[in-house]
Structure formats: C-alpha cells, structure tokens
C-alpha cells in the first residue's frame, strides 16, 4: 500500500484541529478492535500459561439470535467488561449497488426497496426523489401527501418492530408479541394498498403506483387510535418498570460530540440532545406543512433511545391524522408522458398508447445527465441516495448511504466499558438492519 503522505498534508495546517476532535480521534482508535481475523487462534493453540494479557477475544454472531440478522462482533473482554469491539459485516452483501446499474429507473425501486427491509418505503422514497430531482418533474399534491402517509406508516411499522425486538432482547416476551401484533395492523393496510406486505415497489419515480384504496381514512383512523392507546400500555409494561430501567439507564451512553464525529444520525444523534431531524431541519415532501415535535434525549443512553422511538410512534400518529385530514384530491402520479405510462384503459383503444406503455416498461425513460445527493429521514437516520446519470435509461452509479451502515460504527464506543451482558441490549438500541448495512 502506498502511504504517500505528501498528498495527505496538502496545504492545511494540522494544528488547526480543535482539541475535541483529537480527543474523539484517539477515542475512535481505542474502542475499535483492529485485529485481522487471520490472527485468531484455535482454542488448543492458546498459551494459557502466559500471564501478561488479561483480555480474551470472543466471537458473537453471525448466527446469534440477538444480532438482528448476520452481524458478527469480535469482543475483547476483560473479565465481564467489554474493552474493544470489531463489528464484522458483509455476510449479506449481494452487490445491490452493482445490480442497480443494470436495472432501468422503472425497475430500480424494486431493487432499493430490498435494502432496508424494515422500512422499505423510505428506500423507494429516497430513490424516487433523487430520480425526480434529475428529471426536474413537479409532483402533483396528492402524490406528495400519499407518500407522506406511507412514510409515516413506515416509521410506525419500523419503530413497532424495534420495540418488539428490543423487548425480546431484554427478556420481555410480551413486548415482542405486542409489537408484532400492532405491526400486523400496518402490514394489513400495506397489503390492501400496495398488494404486498414488504418490498412494495409502490413509490416510484413520478408518483406512486396506485391511488389509496377506498375507505383508507377509516383504516388510518383505526390504526392511529389503536396504536396510540396501546403505546400507553407499553409505558406500563416497560417505561416505568424498575428492571427495564435498570437495564437501560446509563447503558451504552455516547456524547453528542462523539455521535457527530462518528457521523451517527437518527435516534442515536437525537438521544444525545442534538435536535436534528431532516423532516424538520431540511424538509422534504410536505413536512413543513404538518405539526410534529422532534424528540430529543439528554444522556445518550439506551433508555433515551427507547423513549425517542416510543415517542416518535406518537408523533407519527399525530402526522398521520393531519395527513388524513389534509389529503388533497387529484392525480397520484405526474401526468408527464415521458415518465408515466398511459392509463390502463387507453391501452385497449389506442395502438400508440400500447406501444408507449410497452416502451416505458421495457426500455424505461431517459434521465438527463447529472448527479444528485438526496436524503430523507428514515426511522434509523439519514438515508441518502447519490445518483449519477449519464443520460441513459439506467443509473450510471447509485450509491445508498445506509444509516445502519454508518451508525454501526458507534457500536464499539457504546459497548466500551459496559458489561458483556448488556451487549445484546446495546446492539438492539443501535437498530441495525443488516440488509441495509451490507447492501
């Protein structure tokens, strides 16, 4: 490897770095275990007589049930205390960014929706917004509000799933059952609307695939009322419970400075007290027209992250009710024939419409040359999509900034100095989705 440091120094004077950065930087080296796997030894080869090292390295995962997929951790333990951690990822890597270069923009949403499989609609939303930014199309109002409705349901769904698995990781099987029960209500609504429970391909460049089903207002009303009432049951079950508080308060704490340095976003950053929520600070869709609160914590520990997610469920319900009341009438996709295929009815009566329909779905549409970085606030943090187009009907390069991938870097810092018994709870509070980490 070439270590040409003449490039590294450039014209900048390193003395200008603030003390805080250097602090974080040293810390970043100490919490992360940087040990190549080839140095690992079999149990028989370990020299047990050697007395100069007190630490032990153990593997956790990738098939550990509490690692939420296939995350593997190498933990360096001193007794029961975690000293350093190395997260090992890539077990689910299927080259989705490479695949995206082979799919047209029409097909692209089917690919990205499989990345973060617990909030698939946010992936589609981010991809579609990026494509639309390059196309320069203006969405009809109804498409914007339908997307917002689905995005908030997605957040609800993802946080409920998190409440369920977090409860499970801390030994509360009831919470697991309750979380999945409530999520099922949202999934049933998805099934009615998009035809699928996951991986919808419903939000597409140019709008959505279909309009909302008849009677959607009543369904939303039932979902909002039921889940809001039940969120207070979670309070009784977990929030006030001494065992739960003992296991979460002060566990896995991180400071705002560390979180920012490690590029952490979402509930991890907000738990440290930084009020950063892209829906509020850099509004997309019509989030500047609805009222909601950005929930922040104080101590940056597991309990704060739990409270943030629980209260974001309530805020999502608040937004859902406003969206239901304010839903405008009109088209659910842009009436630009370059992007949107002709309606189904026209195909039976017009040859041109049939050809046009065929062309849009086989060749796709062409997107002007350019590059764009679009972000949305997914339940896990800033979901970014860097899209480069060369003017053809397929993306030249699609890079997805997965919030789980970046947030996972804070895991060694959260675990450092804690007990190995808390590791499961800390992993859970980071909320990594391995489909998005590995892509």
């Amino acid at each position: 490897m070439s270590d040409d440091l003449s490039v590294a120094t450039g014209t900048w004077d390193p003395k200008e770095t603030s003390e805080g950065t250097q602090e974080t930087f040293r810390d970043a080296r100490s919490a992360v275990l940087r040990l190549p796997e080839s140095e690992g030894k079999d149990a028989g080869q370990i020299d047990i007589e050697r007395g100069d090292d007190d630490t032990m390295i153990i593997n956790m995962g990738p098939q550990h049930p509490s690692t939420h997929g296939v995350l593997r951790l190498m933990l360096e333990l001193d007794g029961e205390v975690v000293v350093r951690t190395k997260p090992i990822i890539g077990y689910l890597h299927t080259g989705m960014e490479k695949t995206a270069e082979e799919l047209t923009y029409v097909q692209g949403a089917t690919n990205v929706t499989r990345m973060d499989y617990l909030s698939p609609l946010h992936n589609e939303l981010c991809f579609s917004l990026a494509v639309e930014a390059l196309l320069g199309v203006e969405l009809p109002a109804r498409a914007v509000w339908v997307r917002m409705l689905l995005a908030e349901l997605d957040r609800l769904c993802s946080h409920l799933m998190w409440m369920a698995t977090n409860g499970m990781d801390l030994g509360s099987t009831s919470m697991m059952i309750y979380g999945f029960r409530e999520r099922e209500m949202v999934l049933n609504f998805y099934e009615k609307t998009t035809g699928l429970r996951m991986n919808h391909n419903f939000i597409r460049p140019g709008g959505t695939a279909a309009d909302l089903p008849d009677g959607w207002e009543d369904d939303i009303e039932v979902i909002c009322d039921t889940i809001l009432a039940r969120s207070y049951e979670y309070d009784e079950l977990l929030t006030g419970q001494p065992i739960f508080r003992e296991r979460t308060e002060g566990v896995g704490a991180i400071t705002a400075e560390q979180a920012l340095a490690l590029s952490a976003t979402g509930p991890i950053l907000r738990s440290t007290g930084v009020p950063w929520d892209l829906r509020r600070t850099m509004p997309y869709l019509a989030y500047d027209q609805v009222e909601f609160d950005v929930i922040v914590g104080t101590y940056g520990d597991n309990f704060d992250r739990y409270s943030i997610r629980l209260n974001e469920i309530r805020e999502s319900i608040r937004i859902l009710r406003q969206v239901r009341d304010a839903m405008p009438l009109g088209d659910y996709r842009v009436q630009d024939r370059k992007v949107t295929p002709p309606p189904r009815g026209r195909i039976d009566e017009s040859m041109e419409a049939l050809i046009h329909h065929f062309k849009v779905f086989t060749e796709g549409f062409r997107v002007p040359e350019g590059e764009v970085y679009m972000t949305v606030e997914s339940p896990r943090g800033e979901l970014g999509c860097y899209l480069v187009s060369d003017g053809s009907s397929k993306p030249y390069r699609l890079h997805v900034r997965g919030p789980s991938f970046v947030n996972l870097q804070s895991l060694p810092h959260l675990l450092q100095g804690g007990l190995v018994a808390d590791a499961v709870a800390v992993i859970s509070s980071v909320d990594p989705v391995m489909g998005e980490v590995d892509r």
Binding site: V7, G384, Y386, V406
Partner: protein, 150 residues
Amino acid sequence: MTAPSTAEILFPTRADYYGAVANQRAGGCELCSDLCAVDYLRHPGRPLPDGVAPERFEVVVNLLSLSARRRVRLRVQVPESDPVVPSLFDLYPGTDAMEREVFDLMGIRFAGHPDLTRILMPDDWEGHPLRKDYGVGRVPVQFKEAPGPR
C-alpha cells in the same frame, strides 16, 4: 415544498482535498454524511467546470452543517494510475467504514487510514466489484458439492 437536493459543489484537486475538507470542517460542517466513489470509465465526457481535468475515478464527499443547515459536496478527481487520496479519518472518524467500503468495492486507497481492509467482500477476494471493468456475473456460483452441468 422545498427541494433538499441543493448543495454547494466544490471541485478541489487531489493535493487540496484534505485541506478543503478541513476548511469546511472549520467553517461549520460538523458531520460527514457520506463518502463514496464513482468510476467514470464508460462516461468520460461528463460535465465539469473549467480547469478540472477529468480522471477515471471521482471520490465524492457529502458534508453536512447542522448549524447552518446546508450541505457541501466535494468531488475529487483520482487518476487510475495512482488511486490514492488522503484519509479523512483524522477530521471525521465516521468516514472509517465509508472509506473501507470505497477501498473494498472501488479499489481507491486512503493514505493514513488506520485499518484499510475489505469490509463487505471476503478478505481473499480479488478485484473491486464496483469498477466498471469488473464484469457482472463473471464469478461462477460457488457451490462446492454441486454436480457439474447436466
């Protein structure tokens, strides 16, 4: 409705890259939200401002200022013959995994990175899959016990 895609785009040279990012950091960009790379092998004629000579690779850094609520994007040209850029680890420790990902999938090296190893692909993997000259489906499916083609 506001468009969140607007960002200031800078084109530093490779020698100025580290300094330019450091200036942005001093100028209020607290968070490095993304770092990725693009291989422009099949699209050399992309539009670039005057004075920027296109090279095969481009490292793209997206910085975010929370206080000023703005984004800055830096696009650095990296030649194929010497794909090395300085690591941003000292400025933003959060670029650790992102730089490893770029190294793994695109083969660009980051001088000064504490642990530049493969992150997504297996350690013994050859080649960098996101490069444009790395064929799709070039690798045979690896089922060890599978019978031969019938």
